[in-house]
C-alpha cells in the first residue's frame, strides 16, 4: 500500500544514497569502538557536521537515530540542546562571537557590529555566497584574551574591529590562523 504524506514518519523516511548510509554506519561503528562499546553522540555530531557542510540534515539524523538505537525525537532533543549544533543549513565557516559578560565589557558589541557590517548578515544568518554563518555564543572559555571569537575550530582573542577583515580573508582563502 502507498503511504501518503500525512502518515509517513519523517524520522524514518530517508532519501539517503547508499554511500551516505555506508558512511553513517561506519561512523557510528568507529565511534563505538573508540569509546569502548559506548557512544559519544557529541563526537558523532561533529563528524557529521564536517561531512554535511556544518549542519545536520534531517534524513541523516533520522538514520543516525536508528543506527544508535534512539528515537529521532530524542536525538533531535540532544542536538537542539547544544547551540553549536544546527539542523538548519549553515555556511562553509561558522563565526561564533562570544557575547558573555567578560567579552561584553571588553568590546564584544563593537566586534559584533563590525562583523555584521563586513558580512552583511545578522546573527543566525548566512552570507549569500554561502561562505560564513554569523552566530552569537556563550563563553568560549578563553576570557583571558577577551573579546574573543571562534571560526570553525580556530579561536581568536584580544580582538579589535580592525583585525577582522584580515581574519575573514584568510578564512575565505582556506587558511587558518
Amino acid at each position: 500500500m502507498e503511504l501518503d504524506n500525512v502518515t509517513r514518519p519523517v524520522g524514518q523516511a530517508q532519501p539517503l544514497s547508499d554511500e551516505d548510509r555506508r558512511f553513517l554506519r561506519e561512523l557510528v561503528e568507529t565511534n563505538r569502538i573508540e569509546h569502548h562499546g559506548r557512544l559519544s553522540y557529541m563526537d558523532i555530531m561533529f563528524d557529521l557536521e564536517h561531512r554535511y557542510g556544518n549542519s545536520l540534515p534531517g534524513p541523516v539524523l533520522g538514520e543516525v537515530a536508528r543506527l544508535v538505537g534512539t528515537s529521532p525525537a530524542q536525538l533531535n532533543g540532544f542536538v537542539t540542546f547544544y547551540t553549536m549544533l544546527s539542523t538548519a543549513p549553515r555556511g562553509k565557516h561558522v563565526v561564533r562571537v562570544c557575547t558573555s559578560g567578560p567579552c561584553h565589557v571588553s568590546g564584544a558589541p563593537a566586534i559584533l557590529s563590525s562583523l555584521r557590517q563586513l558580512l552583511g548578515v545578522g546573527i543566525g544568518e548566512t552570507t549569500p555566497d554561502g561562505e560564513f554563518t554569523l552566530e552569537g555564543s556563550s563563553c568560549l572559555g578563553i576570557c583571558g584574551v577577551s573579546p574573543a571569537l571562534m571560526i570553525d575550530d580556530d579561536a581568536y582573542g584580544n580582538l579589535t574591529p580592525e583585525d577582522l577583515p584580515r581574519i575573514l580573508d584568510t578564512k575565505r582563502a582556506g587558511g587558518a590562523q
Binding site: L3, V6, P9, L61, N76, T80
Partner: protein, 592 residues
C-alpha cells in the same frame, strides 16, 4: 530485609516513614497534608521540573522539591511557611508570564491543574513581563491531536508517558532554557512522525496544551442538514465513563442515558459499536480457528486498536502477517451501515453520515486511512459513482469528552434522563461485545465463540477470569476440549513491545495475542474523561463486567442480528464478501 523506619517531623508533628520515602509521599500519605504539585506523576514523571512542590527543610539553605527529595533521619519539614507560599506563588507567576491566559475559552479550563493552582495559591496578578514576543505556532499536523506550545509548562509528563508507558518516543524537549518547547523530530509535527495518536499525553497534560482535534462543529453541521441521515455508534468503553462528565459516580453504567442523550441531540439512529464488535469476534474468531486448523501464521494478534496498528506498522512491519486482517469494530460498523443497512432500508449511502463516539483519539486517524472507503467501492459500480464522489466509511469521530460536550451544549440534563434502548438492527449486541472495552475483553469474547464453534458444545462457565485484570501482560492456557490454546494479553505499548519482540524472533509460544494500545484497554483510552481518581480504570472495568453479566446474550455468535446479517448479506464468516467488506490491509511505515 526490613525497611528501616525514619523519624520525620512535618509541620511540628512527628511521623515514622520507611527509608526511601519522598517528602511528598510522607506529607500526603503519612501526615495527610497536601503539598501542591504540577509536574509530578507518580512512577512515570518524577523529574522535579516545576518547583511548585517546594517545602522548607530545617538546616537546608534552599527550599526543597518535595517530590524528589527523600526524607532523611530526623528531618524537620515545614510545608506552609510564608516563605514556601511566596515561592510557590512566584513559581506559578513565572509559568504564567508567557501563558496565553485564555481560561475562558480553553477546552481544559474545568480541569486545568495550572488554573487550579493559580486560584488555590491566590495568584491575582502576574508581575513578570512577557518575554516571548510572538505566539508559537500550533501543531495542527495530527489527525487526532492539536498541540499548543504556548500553554505548555514544560512539565515533561507527556514526554515521559510517550516514552516510558507507550514506548513510542515521539516527542522530547527541544532547545534549552526559556526557549525550550516540547516537539517532535525536526518540529515536523505529530502527524508526520511515529506518534500513534493514542492521546495518553493528552490525558496526563496538566494544562490545555494538548487537546483532541475537535469534530464537534462537523457533527452539529450534519445534524442540522435535513438531507442527511445521521447515525451514531458508541464504543463499549464509552458507556461506563461518560457519566463521569456529568458528576455521576465513577463506574456508573450509563448505557441507557447515553442512548437517550444521543437521541435528544437529534441523531436519526442510535446504534451500537457493540454490534460490530460481535461481528469482529465472528470474523476474528473464525480467522483464528482457520489458522489453527490449516497451519496458518500464529500467533494471531488482534487488530481493534488503531494506535496499536500504527505502532506495529512503524516498529514491527515485518511481522504484520501475524496481525488479524479484521477491521476494527468502528470501521466494520461504518462499512456495514453504508452497505447492508443502506440496502436494507433503501437509503442512498451518500446521504448517510456515520458518527462514532469513541474512548480513543486514534480512531480519528483510523477513519481517515485511505483504504477505509470500502462502502464507496461497493457502491461505485452499482451507482456509477466517479472517484471524486468517494466517501469514507466513518465520517466523524467524537471522543467521549466531545460527546459529553455536545450534550452539555444542548442543555441536556444527562443524569436525569430516562434509560432508553439502542435502535435496531445495528444496536443489538451481547455481553461479549461489551467487554471489548477492557483489556482482555476481546480475548475472552473470542474464546467464548471459538470454544463453542470448535467443540460444538456449550460453555458451562462463560467467565475466563485468567484473562481479566489490569496487569500489563497476562497469559493463560485455555483448554478447548483437550486442545491447549496458549493466549497472552498486553495493554499499553511498552508491554506490547515485549510480546512483539518474541514474535519477531520467532520465539512466541502463543496461539493468540490481544494487544490494546492504551493502559487498561479502551477504558483507559485517550478520548476518555480525565479523572484524578487513581482507581478509575478499575471502576470502569468493574462496570464493564457488570454490564456483561447483566446481558441476556453473552456470546457473539448468538447475537440474532449478527446471525441475520450473515444469512441475508455476508454468507459465512470469512466468506469472500465478508473479506471484501470487513477485512483490511496494512502498510510498512518504517521506510527502512
Amino acid at each position: 530485609m526490613e525497611t528501616r523506619m525514619l523519624n520525620v517531623r512535618i509541620n511540628g508533628r512527628d511521623y515514622q516513614v520507611p527509608d526511601g520515602t519522598t517528602i511528598l509521599k510522607a506529607a500526603r500519605e503519612y501526615a495527610k497534608i497536601d503539598v501542591p504539585t504540577l509536574c509530578y506523576l507518580e512512577g512515570i514523571s518524577e523529574e522535579g521540573a516545576c518547583a511548585i512542590c517546594v517545602v522548607e527543610v530545617k538546616g537546608a539553605r534552599n527550599l526543597q522539591r518535595a517530590c524528589v527529595v527523600k526524607v532523611g533521619e530526623g528531618m524537620e519539614v515545614w510545608t506552609n511557611t510564608s516563605r514556601v507560599r511566596e515561592a510557590r506563588k512566584l513559581n506559578v507567576e513565572l509559568l504564567l508570564a508567557n501563558h496565553p491566559k485564555d481560561c475562558l475559552m480553553c477546552e481544559k479550563s474545568q480541569i486545568c491543574d495550572l488554573r487550579e493552582l493559580a486560584s488555590e495559591l491566590g495568584v491575582r496578578e502576574v508581575e513578570f513581563p512577557r518575554t516571548r514576543t510572538d505566539l508559537l505556532p500550533l501543531d495542527n499536523t495530527s489527525l487526532s491531536l492539536v498541540r499548543d506550545p504556548n500553554k505548555c509548562v514544560l512539565c515533561r509528563r507527556c514526554v515521559n508517558v510517550c516514552a516510558k508507558v507507550q514506548s513510542v518516543y515521539a516527542i522530547d524537549i527541544m532547545g534549552r532554557g526559556s526557549n525550550s518547547t516540547v516537539s517532535t523530530f525536526l518540529d515536523a509535527g505529530l502527524g508526520n512522525v511515529e506518534c500513534v495518536n493514542c492521546g495518553q499525553c493528552l490525558l496526563v497534560c496538566p494544562t490545555g496544551a494538548i487537546t483532541e482535534r475537535s469534530e464537534i462543529p462537523d457533527v452539529w453541521k450534519a445534524l442540522g442538514d435535513p438531507d442527511k441521515i445521521v447515525v451514531v455508534e458508541t464504543a463499549p468503553a464509552v458507556r461506563v465513563a461518560i457519566g463521569e462528565e456529568f458528576g455521576m459516580p465513577d463506574g456508573t453504567q450509563a448505557t441507557g442515558k447515553m442512548a437517550a442523550a444521543l437521541r435528544s441531540l437529534g441523531f436519526d439512529k442510535v446504534f451500537d459499536t457493540d454490534f460490530s464488535a460481535d461481528l469482529t469476534i465472528m470474523e476474528e474468531g473464525f480467522e483464528l480457528i482457520g489458522r489453527i486448523k490449516n497451519g496458518g501464521t500464529l500467533p494471531l494478534i488482534t487488530s481493534c486498536s488503531p494506535g496499536w496498528i500504527k505502532f506495529a506498522e512503524t516498529f514491527f512491519p515485518k511481522v504484520m502477517d501475524h496481525v488479524s486482517t479484521c477491521k476494527s469494530p468502528q470501521q466494520m460498523f461504518g462499512t456495514v451501515t453504508k452497505t447492508y443497512w443502506a440496502e436494507k432500508m433503501g437509503i442512498d449511502p451518500r446521504k448517510i453520515v456515520v458518527v462514532s463516539v469513541m474512548p480513543c483519539t486514534a480512531k480519528k486517524f483510523e477513519k481517515e486511512r485511505p483504504e477505509m472507503k470500502t462502502a464507496f467501492h461497493y457502491w461505485q459500480e452499482k451507482l456509477g459513482l466517479k472517484d471524486e464522489e468517494s466517501f469514507k466509511d466513518v465520517d466523524c469521530v467524537l471522543t467521549t469528552r466531545e460527546a459529553a460536550q455536545m450534550i452539555r451544549e444542548a442543555g441536556i440534563d444527562f443524569a436525569s434522563l430516562p434509560d432508553e434502548d439502542f435502535d435496531k438492527p445495528l444496536g443489538e449486541s451481547t455481553g461479549a461485545a461489551v467487554i471489548f472495552g477492557a483489556t482482555g475483553g476481546v480475548m475472552e469474547a473470542a474464546l467464548r465463540t471459538a470454544y463453542e464453534v470448535i467443540t460444538t458444545k456449550s460453555l458451562a462457565k462463560l467467565d475466563f477470569e485468567d484473562v481479566r485484570g489490569l496487569e500489563g501482560i497476562k497469559s493463560a492456557d485455555v483448554d478447548i476440549d483437550g486442545m491447549t490454546l496458549k493466549v497472552a494479553i498486553a495493554n499499553g505499548r511498552g508491554n506490547a513491545r515485549v510480546l512483539m519482540e518474541q514474535v519477531q524472533k520467532g520465539e512466541s509460544p502463543y496461539h493468540f495475542i490481544e494487544i490494546m494500545c492504551c493502559p487498561g484497554g479502551c477504558l483507559g483510552g485517550g478520548g476518555q474523561p480525565i479523572s484524578d481518581n487513581p482507581d478509575i480504570k478499575k471502576r470502569r472495568a468493574e462496570a464493564i463486567y457488570r454490564e456483561d453479566a447483566g446481558k441476556p446474550i453473552r456470546k457473539s455468535h448468538e447475537n440474532p442480528e449478527v446471525k441475520e446479517i450473515y444469512k441475508d448479506f455476508l454468507g459465512e464468516p470469512n466468506s469472500e464478501k465478508a473479506h471484501h467488506l470487513l477485512h483490511t490491509e496494512y502498510c510498512d511505515r518504517s521506510c527502512e
